[in-house]
């Protein structure tokens, strides 16, 4: 292999296609969920431990900051879920072409945005 071939590893000078943006944000949402799962598990624990802790959780979730944090976790979950389902469809051979990949990424982003807005409406 010619070791003198030109390489450009300065990612900031590259304009990303939508499939690349969707890929990196899928990863970001996944890493966010590693922390988000702690919040969801704490909620599950509080909701099941006793009726008092269930009601206490409802009171806590009435707080605007708690609502925002929950919405952020649900947004990351919704986004990661939609992008993951897109990957599974692509594993089945759907939307694998260059044009199909672009279109699939666009459709997935639209669905994810709708779900994130719906999650916000649900939380508030």
């Amino acid at each position: 292999m010619n070791k003198k071939r030109p390489v450009n590893l300065d990612l900031w000078t590259i304009q990303f296609p939508i499939a690349a943006l969707v890929s990196i944000t899928h990863r970001v949402s996944g890493v966010v969920l590693l922390a988000g799962i702690l919040i969801l598990m704490w909620m599950l624990d509080a909701s099941l431990a006793s009726e008092e802790s269930f009601l206490e959780l409802q009171t806590i979730l009435a707080n605007p900051i708690a609502k925002f944090v929950l919405w952020a976790v649900l947004a990351a979950l919704a986004y990661h879920l939609v992008m993951g389902l897109r990957h599974l469809l692509m594993d089945l051979g759907i939307g694998e072409s260059l044009e199909g990949g672009r279109r699939g990424a666009t459709v997935a982003v639209v669905i994810a945005v709708i779900l994130i807005l719906a999650a916000g409406w649900w939380v508030w």
């Binding site: 990863r27 996944g30 590693l34 431990a49 009601l55 979950l77 594993d91």
Partner: protein
């Protein structure tokens, strides 16, 4: 040299399959929980507790938790080996990757025990 010692399935194909099977379980659980809460707008403790009283729901929940542990490991491993690399930061990369994956392993084991306790402990 690529070493497979920190991958979950010890090879790429196994990780690929585990990532997708766990994804299906996680997706099914997420959609089920959202649908259940959506179908019970005024959800009270008795209904919620009643759901988790069922053996199948406890099994489904624990399967989801185990899937999450595996899915998170494979995802985190992929992200770390792409961005925390020797090319980016030299010999410190391996140490950092081991520390982060090690921390994840400890936290995830704690999640699993905690999850088991919250599902069967009440």
């Amino acid at each position: 040299m690529v070493t497979a010692v920190s991958t979950l399935g010890r090879n790429g194909v196994a990780d690929w399959v585990i990532q997708r099977v766990s994804a299906l379980i996680l997706a099914a659980y997420t959609i089920f929980i959202v649908a259940f809460i959506g179908a019970n707008p005024q959800l009270d403790f008795a209904t919620w507790h009643g759901l988790f009283d069922q053996l199948w729901m406890r099994i489904f929940s624990l399967m989801t938790l185990i899937s999450m542990a595996a899915h998170g490991w494979i995802g985190l491993w992929a992200v770390l080996t792409d961005y925390v690399t020797e090319r980016m930061m030299g010999s410190k990369a391996l140490t950092l990757r081991i520390l982060v994956l090690g921390a994840y392993a400890v936290v995830t084991l704690a999640y699993l025990v905690w999850g088991f306790e919250m599902l069967w402990g009440f």
